[in-house]
């Protein structure tokens, strides 16, 4: 088999070639203009990074159709795609393939980011430097953060891309080529982020605050900024696609309040991604220009203001956390009725709460800056707006309780992860108000309590629901059943370990442990807590490995899955497993009832037309 037939391979080779071309251009220009020295590493790497990404995308062929249209040529509507495993290494326009590409890439990035965490958490077991030098520690902490964020964005992309068209009765997304672009652009971005390891690292944490990040000694900052910029393009283009698809491509009879609830979550998420992501790109770009061209946006000795960076950065990075959790909370709402066999309590209120969280989330960013030295008068208003987010979030929790009340529950693996998610997201959410209150935040800011808060919200709002979703739809996308035994083992290891990790982090933080430190004062007396956190991390890692093993052996030799193992009313479960290539093309459906009328005898949600003969 010709390895160059795989788009992934072509893309990576293209990135290498493009990087050299970009470096060459900068060097040539410097030579022509008589600049000294002719080879200047930082601008060479920057243009190299940009051209490298462009060449990656061109080499994969994902831009192929658009380039043809620009020349006035036409392209086939349904391009031929290789069957078998090669599909997943090539450009596909099928949202289901793209969804799986997002999902697998997400898991790989998670494994890398998790490994960095295990390394520095091992260092932190005891005071004193055991094996990890402080500046390497700082780089690993930053990489752990940004790669986890990238992994979550990819996982959100997986869930939304795979599920939304299936849930609304569409045969694909509104813009399949844009969908493919939005997936592939993540890869050169991730390569650039990882390249920081070889370019001196970056010691600012993923938040990249100047003046520290304008430190010219570390070129790694530039590839970090560029990598994030390109990964951000995925969110923006993906967001547009989801919004148009949901608004314009629903099946007959599917009014907005008759969509599966996950679609509301996806819509709210897409609205944030498409409008906020630009700000992190901008803030990073300004630091890049400060470094490259001396444009002193953030240098107060030259008329700039470092707090400006923080406003621009957090304007995206706060709404971003709602991008991370709204889909997962949508998964919880989607799965509970199926395993409790009764309607989702207060569907309309839950739908509106997703939009409510998205909206309020744009008005709270400066709670990350209570100690920053920003204008005094801003602190109290941002405290009020921040505490307000608890209201729509509370609506979700109370509605889940209402859904469970008087149900008839069963507990296969997806349901276990849903219940675990609820309690963990609760812990994370409840640790929020002390941070959102200025006076208590003056103590908590930049401590490990904050680390505990966001790990709990991320695990509860994304990680646990993501595993629930993977197990739940595994039969649908693969046609096989996963191992229930291994699934339960995964859960029963991960849940208690996660509680130990979270509570441990909050405890050492309250005791005075700061974040982003590679060594801590023995006088704090927190060695026990640190050891517990690290052990918990290893147990979580083990549980994830069990999950990966489950996926591999189940894909290879799992039992054949029925079309609807969960007896769900949702349209995708009325199709065979795995889903046919064009979804409902052969079996369009009409919505004739409510999505979650479990327990109402004789009620139907979707009326599938007859399956085609002999398929």
């Amino acid at each position: 088999m010709n390895i160059l037939s795989l788009a992934l391979v072509r893309g990576l080779l293209g990135q290498v070639v493009g990087t050299l071309v970009g470096m060459g251009i900068v060097t040539l220009v410097r030579l022509i203009f008589g600049m000294d020295p002719v080879w200047k590493a930082e601008p060479a790497w920057v243009l190299g990074g940009v051209v490298g990404t462009m060449f990656f995308m061109l080499a994969t062929g994902v831009m192929g159709d658009w380039l043809k249209w620009a020349k006035g040529e036409s392209t086939p509507d349904h391009p031929h795609e290789e069957p078998g495993w090669q599909r997943y290494f090539n450009v596909s326009l099928d949202h289901k393939v793209i969804g799986i590409q997002y999902g697998v890439t997400s898991v790989i990035i998670f494994l890398i980011a998790g490994t960095f965490a295990l390394i520095f958490r091992t260092e932190l077991i005891a005071p004193g430097i055991q094996f990890l030098e402080l500046d390497v520690f700082n780089t690993y902490v930053g990489l752990h953060g940004i790669l986890m964020i990238a992994g979550i964005l990819l996982g959100v992309g997986a869930m939304i891309n795979y599920l939304v068209p299936l849930m609304i009765g569409a045969s694909d997304m509104a813009f399949p080529r844009l969908n493919a672009f939005a997936f592939w652009i993540n890869l050169p971005g991730a390569v650039l982020v990882l390249a920081t390891l070889f370019l001196g690292g970056f010691d600012s944490g993923w938040t990249g605050y100047p003046p520290l990040s304008a430190n010219l000694e570390k070129i790694g900052f530039q590839t970090f900024f560029m990598g994030v910029y390109f990964i951000g393009l995925s969110s923006i283009t993906g967001g547009i696609n989801v919004i148009v698809t949901v608004l314009r491509m629903r099946a007959k009879g599917m009014s907005l309040f008759k969509m599966p609830i996950f679609v509301w979550a996806a819509l709210a998420t897409a609205l944030i991604q498409f409008s906020a992501t630009q700000l992190i790109g901008l803030s990073f770009q300004l630091v890049m220009f400060e470094r490259l061209f001396g444009m002193n946006f953030f240098d107060p000795t030259e008329g700039g203001n470092p707090i400006l960076f923080q406003h621009l950065f957090w304007f995206y990075s706060h709404p971003a956390v709602y991008v991370f959790i709204l889909p997962g909370l949508g998964i919880i709402s989607e799965l509970l009725p199926v395993f409790v066999r009764k309607p989702l309590f207060g569907y309309k209120w839950i739908a509106m709460s997703s939009l409510g969280i998205a909206l309020v989330g744009f008005f709270v960013w400066a709670h990350h800056m209570f100690t920053s030295g920003m204008a005094e008068y801003l602190r109290v208003p941002f405290m009020y707006s921040t505490l307000l987010v608890a209201v729509p979030t509370g609506v979700k929790f109370f509605s889940w309780v209402g859904t469970m009340w008087q149900g008839k529950m069963t507990f296969p693996t997806p349901m276990l992860f849903v219940l675990g998610a609820i309690t963990i997201f609760l812990l994370g959410g409840l640790s929020g108000p002390p941070n959102g209150t200025v006076s208590t935040d003056l103590y908590l800011h930049d401590t490990y309590w904050i680390v505990g808060h966001f790990h709990a919200t991320m695990f509860g709002g994304y990680v646990f629901p993501m595993f629930a979703a993977i197990y739940y739809w595994f039969p649908k996308f693969s046609g096989k059943m996963y191992s229930e035994k291994l699934g339960k083992l995964h859960f029963w290891l991960m849940l208690p370990a996660f509680y130990v990790q979270s509570l441990g982090q909050m405890w050492v933080g309250l005791s005075g442990m700061r974040r982003r430190i590679g060594d801590y004062d023995p006088a704090l007396g927190i060695e026990t807590g640190q050891l517990l956190i690290t052990i918990a991390g290893y147990v979580i890692a083990l549980s994830v490995l069990i999950f990966v093993v489950n996926m591999i052996i189940s894909l290879r030799s799992g039992q054949k899955a029925p079309a609807n193992p969960w007896n769900s009313r949702s349209p995708e479960f009325q199709l065979p497993s795995p889903v046919p290539v064009h979804n409902y093309a052969q079996q369009p459906f009409e919505v004739v009832g409510e999505p979650y009328d479990y327990g109402l005898p004789g009620s139907v949600y979707v009326n599938m037309s007859a399956a085609p003969a002999g398929d």
Binding site: G346, G402, T440, Y598
Partner: protein
């Protein structure tokens, strides 16, 4: 009837969980298992509010988990049971209640937050002034009214201190956990203030709380709170034996080396650090990262302070701030060189 028993059961469960977790948290707080002992008057409203938050957390956690556990146990499908759950879709009254009550509660908590914030910012016009300077990776404290510069923050008990703070390079953050309050320290002319009124004599530490580069973890300074009389004695002692006023350039040089942050990276006793140790440095043949060798003399040392990036010793990184010497006079540098020369 059936319904009522469930409601009673779950209310009991929630109440038990609330009391258990709430009392547990309260006890841990009071016995110092979670927060370090409060040593400032600003800590009082903050710790009070923490206590209230923890009760709210205990209640809300128990509420949701209580209902969840009850449902998981009581509303599960028993073996062989068919049929679905009870069909109800919602309840507008309860939705409105569980929107408005939380809304009122968060607004109240925000109000308490604003109250406590104004409490901790109360101004005492007679506060003792301390100018705090943070730099990669040390702190210096200057008492402008007293004419003292110190590398330890010494404060009189029960008297408000007005800390006026700035950084010489990147963003740092001033935090003494026992005092509770925290404030980022900014470069340029962006002076930021923090008011702290100690209430317990003792020894504490300032810990930099904003990632500021390689040695952020170790950017600490001692804090000593003394009764007023002992503080006055300390001031007298410092003024009388002010090393920066000594006739001996070696003594003055050592004082400058600590005050201007050299000691954070260069040890005096041969211990390896972020920068080369000064022990035995003067007169040495040093190897640079480009392979050349240099005699460490006064000229070389002056260049190392005024233009740190010009030559880098092999095995070390170029992390010495370029502006570290901008406030040093030539005389002060000469004193430092005398001090270095004295270190064998």
């Amino acid at each position: 009837m059936n319904q009522l028993k469930h409601y009673i059961g779950v209310v009991i469960l929630v109440a038990v969980l609330t009391v258990a977790t709430g009392l547990g948290l309260q006890s841990a707080l009071q016995n110092g298992y979670i927060l370090p002992p409060a040593a400032s008057w600003q800590a009082v409203p903050i710790d009070w509010l923490f206590g209230l938050h923890f009760w709210a957390i205990a209640f809300l956690f128990s509420l949701i988990v209580g209902f969840l556990l009850y449902s998981v146990i009581v509303f599960r499908r028993k073996k062989g049971e068919t049929g679905d759950g009870v069909h109800f879709e919602g309840n507008t009254t309860i939705e409105i209640l569980w929107t408005l009550i939380p809304l009122a509660t968060v607004i109240y908590f925000a109000y308490l937050g604003a109250q406590t914030l104004s409490d901790i910012q109360r101004v005492d016009p007679d506060a003792i002034r301390v100018n705090v300077t943070g730099r990669q990776w040390s702190w210096t404290f200057e008492y402008p009214e007293l004419g003292i510069v110190s590398e330890e923050l010494v404060l009189p008990n029960n008297k408000q201190a007005l800390l006026r703070m700035k950084s010489q390079d990147v963003i740092h953050s001033f935090w003494v956990p026992e005092f509770r309050v925290k404030q980022d320290v900014l470069p340029g002319d962006m002076v930021r203030e923090l008011r702290v009124t100690p209430k317990e004599v003792g020894e504490y530490k300032v810990r930099c709380a904003e990632l500021c580069g390689r040695d952020h973890a170790n950017m600490r300074a001692p804090v000593v709170v003394l009764e007023q009389a002992d503080f006055d004695a300390w001031v007298e002692e410092r003024l009388a034996a002010d090393p920066t006023k000594s006739d001996d350039p070696v003594v003055r040089g050592q004082a400058w080396a600590i005050q201007f942050g050299c000691a954070a990276c260069h040890s005096f006793d041969g211990t390896d650090g972020i920068g080369p140790s000064w022990a035995g440095l003067f007169g040495k043949e040093e190897t640079m990262e480009d392979g050349s060798t240099v005699l460490v003399d006064a000229e070389y040392l002056i260049e190392s302070i005024r233009d740190p990036g010009a030559q880098i010793v092999a095995g070390y990184q170029n992390v010495m701030p370029a502006n570290i010497g901008e406030d040093l006079t030539d005389d002060q540098i000469a004193d430092i060189i005398a001090f270095i020369e004295s270190l064998k």
